[in-house]
């Protein structure tokens, strides 16, 4: 791919590992001066790591980093430089998670590290004046003297960009900048970025949203599984082609949704779709010839008007109602941060709803705690297995009974023999490797760690409902197939499954119905038959379906 303008950034053969995890391998990137470049890929593809290597936060294990100082002129090898050196050379990064000190004012945050002084003192007035001037010039409006803790997320992000520009950045890296912005805020951001590029600045935008890529970028680099796989000019491509490059094999998976051996299910899906079209809340057709743990006519999970208060919005979950039938997978798609996490935590009993009702197999469980809900037949594959799903320093065996400890004890005494037997059995059945139950969970790969969680949640109790949040995030290809297979089997066994995934291909591959969550509400609920990336996209970005749907 020829580059017409002189390159401002060139990364070649970058490799970066964290312990056993390979975040980048043989990743390369070239960005011309004055262009807006989109770095796209799924979650965990290694985009952020690669850009942190560029910004000097990480030193690469292998490969080279070259940058044109101040975004112009000849490339200089800067491999392994520090953040301070990167800033001095005009390279600045706006992180996905804000790097702001909440107790300091906007101006203080902006000048931190490059303070203006008057004698021995901070020159606060001049700092505020300069921030105001920069704010005027770039259109990034924010009050310079307000504490950051009082700002909205959109304003906080403007401060982040101001920070980088204040340091004279000519190469600006933005990591998922729109994840927390409203559509008008996104449009403002685009205007600012175009303005920067027009003045010769270079912008690298990390994102996984294709509409944004098409909107704003000049060129695109696609990453998959830690490496860069394609470099395309935006004008020469289509969202479909980008998606194919991003997702790779998962597209094939999505097409394989109704594979052999699942015909009965396909028939059921068709029927249910028909009932949805009739306006009724989806109800499963009788699951013939299959042993079901519940009367299939009744909802396994019925949620009414569920509302969860939040920090960023008044309500993270805003009056959501839905039901899931036995033998059905309800997929919840959407851009992350639209209330999916809070919804599942409220369902699991980890967060307290401010309003609404949750019924499990017909019984109201709204007032119950985590354990009581689990005992009532709720299993949960949590979104963040490192924080919630596993005690990383514990053995595989102990992790296989986390949350089931009362089932593996006699009185107060833990039944060590049953815990051991359980571990040996599950390690074999779920092919957890290495097959040594005494190893700490920390020592396992992402896929095998997730197998521990899945083994526990799918065998530990006689459950009616399974909550599966991002079940394949950060796991290897083999484990993805295994996990998808387990979810299909659970459905076949009559379990009701709520699947939340940021990966639309995964939702389309597994779900019988697809809901799209936007700003705490279900923007739409479609039967699988009618759901496609093209159809769902507008709902995910808020372009369609502002009304809450059941």
């Amino acid at each position: 791919m020829p580059v017409t303008q002189p390159p401002a950034i060139r990364l070649a053969g970058v490799r970066k590992t964290f312990g056993p995890v390979v975040a980048n391998r043989d990743a390369s990137l070239e960005v011309a001066a004055g262009e807006i470049h989109a770095l796209v890929g799924e979650n965990g593809a290694g985009k952020s790591t690669l850009m942190r290597v560029l910004a000097g936060m990480y030193g690469p294990d292998a490969g080279t980093v070259q940058v044109a100082p101040q975004g112009a002129g000849a490339l200089r090898d800067v491999t392994g430089w520090t953040t301070a050196e990167a800033i001095a050379a005009g390279v600045g990064m706006v992180h996905q998670h804000f790097m702001l000190v909440p107790t300091l004012t906007v101006a203080e945050n902006v000048v931190l590290g490059q303070e203006l002084t008057k004698g021995l003192q901070l020159d606060r007035a001049r700092a505020e004046a300069e921030v105001r001037a920069l704010s005027q010039k770039t259109g990034l409006q924010v009050a310079a003297d307000r504490p950051v803790s009082e700002l909205s997320v959109g304003e906080a992000q403007r401060v982040e960009i101001l920070k980088v520009l204040y340091r004279g950045a000519r190469i600006l890296i933005l990591d998922e900048p729109t994840a927390v912005l409203s559509p008008p805020e996104v449009r403002e951001l685009w205007t600012v970025l175009r303005g920067l590029a027009a003045q010769g600045g270079t912008v690298v935008l990390i994102t996984h949203k294709l509409d944004e890529v098409v909107d704003i970028s000049d060129t695109i680099t696609v990453m998959r599984a830690g490496t860069t796989v394609e470099r395309i000019r935006t004008a020469d491509t289509t969202p479909q082609a980008i998606a194919r490059a991003m997702v790779g094999r998962d597209v094939a998976l999505a097409l394989d949704v109704m594979g052999a051996g699942d015909e009965l299910h396909a028939e059921r899906v068709e029927r249910r779709a028909a009932s949805v079209e009739g306006g009724a809340v989806a109800e499963a057709a009788p699951a013939r010839g299959r042993d079901s743990t519940l009367d299939a006519r009744r909802s396994a999970l019925e949620v009414t008007g569920l509302t969860v208060a939040g920090a960023r919005r008044p309500n993270e979950v805003d009056g959501v109602s839905f039901s899931v039938a036995p033998g059905e997978i309800l997929g919840i798609a959407g851009v992350e941060g639209n209330g999916q996490t809070e919804l599942l935590e409220a369902l699991a009993g980890l967060a307290r709803p401010t309003a609404g009702r949750i019924a499990l197999a017909g019984a109201d469980v709204t007032a119950l705690g985590v354990r009581a809900r689990a005992d009532a037949g709720l299993s949960h594959i949590p979104e963040d297995r490192h924080r919630r799903g596993l005690v990383l320093d514990w053995s595989i065996a102990d992790n296989l009974v986390l949350g089931l400890q009362h089932r593996f004890s006699a009185g107060a005494r833990l039944d060590g023999r049953r815990i051991d037997e359980n571990a040996r059995r599950l390690v074999r059945e779920f092919d957890i490797r290495p097959a040594d139950p005494s190893l700490p969970a920390r020592a396992l790969s992402g896929g095998n760690q997730q197998k521990i969680v899945i083994a526990r949640e799918m065998t530990g109790r006689d459950y009616h409902v399974l909550l599966a949040a991002q079940p394949t995030r950060g796991v290897d290809v083999g484990a993805i197939e295994f996990i998808h297979d387990q979810l299909r089997r659970a459905r076949a066994a009559g379990k009701a499954i709520v699947l939340v995934s940021a990966d639309l291909a995964e939702i389309l591959a597994l779900a019988d119905r697809v809901a799209v969550m936007y700003r705490g509400r279900f923007a739409t609920v479609l039967p699988r038959r009618e759901a496609s990336a093209e159809r769902l996209g507008p709902y995910m970005t808020g372009a369609a379906g502002a009304e809450p749907a059941a």
Binding site: D393, G403, Q405, P434, L439
Partner: protein, 370 residues
């Protein structure tokens, strides 16, 4: 991501086990080596021969019955305070309040003993033991509740409570319970046998049957932490509160329970003096035992067996200081105790870092294979 461990061989697993062993055992050993060097320097400062001083230290502790008895007596108190800190630490809490909890336990035992008057030992001793546990547990529960309810830092609250509780006890003693011209309560009738009752060689040493209670407490703490459901939940809260919550555990309740339990164990430590040695509560008898408990737990890696061993080590140092006082000031051992803590607390992360760095190349082939 690549599957780093799928192809792990038996040899690699053995490697990993060895790492665990090294992480548990190596840091205390490194710390002791550092303390030995510092000790040598201090001894040389006084113009003495380190060899002679350490020989004298061992001579005065393990080589004669009286010295050994004193070591056992001191190790008994330290086992309790070490266990107390470890129970808190396993729940992710810093209980710096063992000193006041131990004092409260001793005080409660003395009051119970006084109230019982001349009741038979079979009744009086268990009541005193229970009183000590309740007294210490009540003081320990306060920071647990304040943390669970208000998020108050248990570190600060336990430190502040040390001063509050000790002042309160001093007041009660001074105003109501002291024997004239002293700072202690009247003697209680209840007591447990001393080692000196068994063999004349131990004459004068304070070692007593509370030693057995300390060993029982260590065994019970091990069983509770590693073999019971509440212990399982306590350890989950200590390592990853979010995972514990996900596992259906009420984190706040575990904090309260762990702090109460920790305080109760520290409170039992008060019995060593009150029930086993002097048979009265005296102002200031607990001084210093709390902070040394932190050291004991740290060197014992928060494991009951390690704590018993570390308690013996620190008790040997304390008693040994007295034995060598003629050659070098006994305060040398106080310096060494501090050095041991500092060395452990800095060498644990450092040893781990060095070990991890050394192990990383070995992990690469497995990654490539997957």
């Amino acid at each position: 991501m690549s599957d780093a461990t799928a192809g792990a061989t038996a040899a690699e697993r053995a490697d990993r086990r060895r790492t665990l062993l090294e992480e548990a055992v190596l840091p205390p050993l490194v710390a002791l080596a550092i303390a030995l060097v510092v000790g040598d320097l201090l001894i040389l400062t006084f113009g003495q021969s380190p060899g002679a001083v350490f020989a004298m230290l061992l001579e005065g502790t393990w080589a004669n019955a009286y010295g050994f008895g004193q070591v056992l007596y001191k190790a008994t108190s330290l086992t309790f305070t070490g266990l107390a800190f470890a129970i808190g630490a396993r729940a992710g809490l810093f209980n710096i309040g063992a000193e006041s909890q131990l004092a409260a336990g001793g005080f409660a035992a003395a009051v119970a003993g006084l109230a019982l008057g001349g009741a038979p030992a079979i009744l009086a001793v268990p009541v005193c033991i229970a009183a000590a546990a309740v007294g210490g547990g009540a003081v320990g529960a306060v920071p647990g509740v304040l943390k669970a309810r208000f998020g108050a830092s248990e570190v600060i609250v336990t430190i502040m409570l040390n001063f509050v509780v000790l002042a309160l006890l001093n007041y009660v003693i001074a105003a109501h319970l002291h024997v004239p011209e002293t700072l202690h309560t009247p003697e209680i009738a209840a007591g447990v046998p001393r080692l000196a009752d068994l063999s004349d060689a131990f004459r004068g040493s304070a070692a007593n049957a509370i030693l057995l209670l300390a060993l029982a407490a260590a065994a019970a703490a091990w069983w509770y932490l590693f073999r019971t459901r509440p212990g399982f939940e306590l350890r989950a809260v200590g390592l990853q509160p979010d995972a514990a919550e996900y596992g259906g555990v009420d984190v706040g309740r575990v904090w309260v329970r762990a702090m109460a339990l920790s305080g109760a164990v520290a409170g039992l430590g008060g019995l060593n003096y009150v029930l086993g040695y002097k048979h009265y509560y005296e102002e200031g008898f607990a001084a210093g035992s709390g902070f040394l408990g932190v050291a004991v737990a740290l060197v014992g890696r928060n494991h009951p067996l390690g704590i018993v061993i570390a308690a013996l080590l620190f008790a040997t140092l304390s008693q040994g200081g007295l034995a060598v006082n003629a050659l070098v000031p006994k305060q040398m051992v106080e310096v060494l105790q501090a050095v041991v803590i500092l060395a452990v607390v800095t060498s644990v992360p450092e040893v781990r870092r060095v070990l991890r760095a050394a192990l990383r190349p070995a992990a690469k082939p497995a990654k490539a294979a997957a």
